[in-house]
C-alpha cells in the first residue's frame, strides 16, 4: 500500500501537486510511481524561468528499469528546480512527497482543482490498475 498524503492533488500521470502559500505549485511523482519505476538514477530538469505548456515535457526521470517523461500538469513558468536531485535522485525513492520534490511552478492561469484527482480518486485509479 503506497502512501498518499491527503493535502495534495494528483494526476492520472502519477504526479502530485501542492499549492504553496505564495501561489506557486510544487510538483513531484507519487510513491506509487517511484515504486513502479524502481531505483531512480538520473533526473533531467527544466531551466528556472522556462515556460511550460500544459501536457508538454517538463522533466525526465530515469530508473534502472526505464526512462519516463514527467509532463507539465499545468501551463506555468519554472520558479525553482530541486537541485539536490542531481546528486541524489534516490530522494525521489526515499521521500517522494518531501525532499524528492521535482519543480516549483508559477501557474500561468491558476489551478482548477476539479481537473485533478483527489487522494481518494487517485487511490481508486491505482487500485484499478493493480487489478
Amino acid at each position: 500500500m503506497s502512501e498518499l498524503p491527503g493535502d495534495l492533488i494528483y494526476t492520472s500521470e502519477h504526479e502530485w501537486l501542492r499549492r504553496e502559500d505564495d501561489g506557486s505549485v510544487t510538483i513531484g511523482i507519487t510513491d506509487h510511481a517511484q515504486t513502479a519505476l524502481g531505483d531512480l538514477v538520473y533526473v533531467e530538469m527544466p531551466e528556472t524561468g522556462q515556460t511550460l505548456e500544459r501536457g508538454g515535457d517538463m522533466a525526465v526521470v530515469e530508473s534502472v528499469k526505464a526512462a519516463s517523461d514527467v509532463l507539465a500538469p499545468i501551463a506555468a513558468s519554472v520558479v525553482a528546480v530541486n537541485e539536490e536531485l542531481a546528486d541524489d535522485p534516490e530522494k525521489m525513492n526515499v521521500d517522494p512527497y518531501g525532499a524528492g520534490w521535482i519543480v516549483r511552478l508559477r501557474p500561468s492561469d491558476g489551478v482548477d482543482e476539479t481537473e485533478f484527482l483527489t487522494p481518494d480518486a487517485y487511490q481508486s485509479l491505482i487500485d484499478a490498475a493493480d487489478g
Partner: protein, 490 residues
C-alpha cells in the same frame, strides 16, 4: 574472480608473439609522434592465453547455454556459415578493389537481396544499414523523403504503439518527426478506434512490430494498413520479430511499405554485446527511388551476368550513404550462406519450430503456475509471463528469477520489457532448441518458484555460483567509471 589484465601487468614483461616490434624507420613527422608510451598491459604469452581462456569460460553464450533472451532471437549460428564467409576470396577482398575483382562477392550480395525481397514480399532491398537502428533510420528517412518529394510537407507525425521498442520513437525523433503514442488493448492488439482518431493530414506513417513486442500477432493488420494508407501515411515494419513469421506471412502482403530486417537475428549471424549487426531494408514500389546506396545490380549481356554497384547517379533521390562501403560484409555473407543452407523449404519450418517451441514453453510454464500476460492468446515466437503475484506475495521479482536462473546455468530472459507489463519476463526459445533443453528450463523455473513459494527462500542475493554476484546496477549507473585503472582506484 579474474583480475583485469592490467592488474597482472609487470613492467618490462613481453609476449613476443604479440609484440608489435620497434622500428626506427618511421616516416611520421616528429610533431605527430606521442612522447609517452601507451598504457598497455605487459604480460607473458601464457598469462594472456590463460586470462582470455578463463574469461571465455565464464561467458554465457549460445555455444554453451540456453539463451531465451526475448526479442533478441539468440539462435544457433551454424559453423558452416562462418567457414564459408571466411574463405580467402571473401576475407581477403578489399572493399576499394575494382568491381571486376569482386564479382563473386557481388553475386552473393545480389542473390541475398533477391532472396530477402522474395521472403518479405518487397520490391527492392538495400543491404547497407549497419544494424537494426540504422535500418530504422533509413526506413523513416525514406518515408520523409517520399512525402517531401510529393510536396506533402505537412506530414511530420509518426504513430508508434506504446508497446514498441524504444528505438522506434527515437528513430522518428531523429528524423525530425513528432511521435504519437498509440494505446494497446487488453488483448494485446493495438486500439483500432484510437488509430482512426489519430490519423490525418499530418500522418507520415506508423511503425509496427508484428508480432508485437508483447509476443502476439496483430490480427487486424490489414485493417490497420487500410486506415493508415487511407490517411496518406505509410507503414513501417520493425523486423525484430521476423523469426515468428518468416516463410509464412510476408510484410509486403500485409501492406507494409518498408521493412528493416535484423539479419543477425533472423538469419543467424553471431551477435550480442553491441555487434556486429546488419539492418538490411526492403521497400515497396513507392519507396524504391529513395533506397540508401549502394545497391547491387545485375546486367546480363550475351548470356554473361555481371554485377555492379548502383550509386547516386542511378538513384538520384536516394537518402544517401549510411556507411563507407556496404554494411558489415562478413555478416551479410553469413546471412547469405544461412539462407542458402536453409532453403525455401527450411524457411517455412523456421517459423513453425520457433512458434512451436515458444507455445510449448508457454503452456508448460502456465501449467506450472506462472501467470501469462496474455493467457487468451497463442504465443508467437516469444511470450511474456508476469511475476506480479509472486512479487507481491513472496517478494520474488522478475529480476530475482532472472538472476536465480543463472545459477541453474540458463541465461536470463529479457526482464522488465515491454514496459506495459509489470514484473515481466519476455521469453524466446528460438527454433534451434531441443525439447530436452526446454524441459530443463521449465524444471529450473519450477525449482526457483517452489523454493520461494513453499520454503520462503529469498533470491535477492542471487546468483550465488557465478564469477560475480548480484551487481549493484544503481551504483553502476550513478558512479559510472569508464576510465577505471587499478592504480587510480578510489
Amino acid at each position: 574472480m579474474e583480475k583485469l589484465i592490467f592488474e597482472k601487468s609487470r613492467t618490462g614483461r613481453r609476449a613476443f608473439a604479440q609484440s608489435p616490434g620497434e622500428s626506427e624507420d618511421i616516416n611520421i613527422p616528429e610533431s605527430f609522434l606521442r612522447v609517452d608510451r601507451p598504457q598497455l598491459p605487459e604480460a607473458s604469452e601464457l598469462q594472456v592465453v590463460r586470462h582470455f581462456t578463463r574469461l571465455s569460460q565464464m561467458n554465457f553464450s549460445i555455444d554453451t547455454q540456453f539463451y531465451p533472451l526475448g526479442s533478441c532471437t539468440m539462435k544457433y549460428n551454424p559453423r558452416a556459415c562462418n567457414a564459408l564467409a571466411m574463405l580467402p576470396g571473401f576475407a581477403g577482398r578489399h572493399p576499394l578493389g575494382p568491381v571486376s575483382h569482386g564479382q563473386g562477392f557481388l553475386n552473393c550480395m545480389f542473390e541475398l537481396q533477391e532472396m530477402l525481397k522474395d521472403v518479405t514480399g518487397m520490391q527492392g532491398v538495400s543491404l547497407t544499414p549497419m544494424a537494426g537502428a540504422q535500418g530504422e533510420l533509413a526506413g523513416i528517412s525514406m518515408i520523409c523523403a517520399y512525402h517531401d518529394a510529393r510536396g506533402d510537407h505537412e506530414r511530420n507525425e509518426i504513430i508508434v504503439p506504446d508497446a514498441a521498442h524504444g528505438t522506434n520513437p527515437a528513430t522518428a525523433t531523429m528524423c525530425g518527426c513528432d511521435v504519437r503514442e498509440l494505446p494497446t488493448g487488453s488483448d494485446g492488439d493495438i486500439n483500432i478506434e484510437a488509430l482512426k482518431a489519430m490519423v490525418g493530414p499530418k500522418t507520415a506513417g506508423i511503425m509496427l512490430t508484428n508480432p508485437s513486442t508483447l509476443g502476439v500477432f496483430e490480427r487486424r493488420i490489414i485493417e490497420v494498413a487500410k486506415i493508415v494508407h487511407g490517411a496518406g501515411g505509410l507503414l513501417y515494419y520493425d523486423g525484430a520479430n521476423l523469426n515468428a513469421i518468416i516463410g509464412k506471412v510476408r510484410p509486403g502482403d500485409m501492406g507494409f511499405d518498408v521493412i528493416h530486417m535484423n539479419l543477425h537475428k533472423t538469419f543467424s549471424t553471431p551477435h550480442g554485446g553491441g555487434g556486429p549487426g546488419s539492418g538490411a531494408i526492403g521497400v515497396g514500389d513507392r519507396l524504391l527511388p529513395f533506397m540508401p546506396i549502394p545497391v547491387v545490380a545485375a546486367a546480363t549481356i550475351d548470356g554473361k551476368t555481371t554485377y555492379d554497384w548502383l550509386t547516386e547517379d542511378d538513384l538520384p533521390q536516394s537518402i544517401g550513404r549510411l556507411s563507407g562501403f556496404m554494411g558489415n560484409a562478413g555478416v551479410l555473407l553469413r546471412a547469405y550462406v544461412y539462407m542458402r543452407m536453409v532453403g525455401r523449404e527450411g524457411m517455412h519450418r523456421l517459423a513453425e519450430y520457433a512458434t512451436l517451441n515458444a507455445n510449448y514453453l508457454q503452456v508448460r510454464l502456465r501449467d506450472a503456475g506462472f501467470e501469462l500476460a496474455f493467457p487468451d492468446r497463442r504465443a508467437s515466437h516469444e511470450f511474456i509471463i508476469t511475476l506480479k503475484r509472486d512479487a507481491k506475495t513472496f517478494d520474488l521479482t522478475a529480476m530475482d528469477v532472472a538472476k536465480a536462473l543463472l545459477d541453474h546455468n540458463y541465461h536470463a530472459p529479457t526482464t522488465y520489457f515491454p514496459l506495459l507489463v509489470d514484473e515481466c519476463l519476455l521469453i524466446e526459445p528460438t527454433e534451434t532448441e531441443s525439447k530436452e533443453t526446454l524441459d530443463g528450463f521449465v524444471a529450473a523455473m519450477i525449482a526457483i518458484a517452489t523454493e520461494a513459494r513453499e520454503k520462503g527462500v529469498s533470491f535477492k542475493e542471487a546468483p550465488y555460483k557465478m564469477p560475480v554476484r548480484r551487481l549493484d546496477d544503481v551504483k553502476a549507473a550513478r558512479q559510472l567509471d569508464l576510465a577505471y585503472r587499478p592504480d587510480k582506484r578510489l
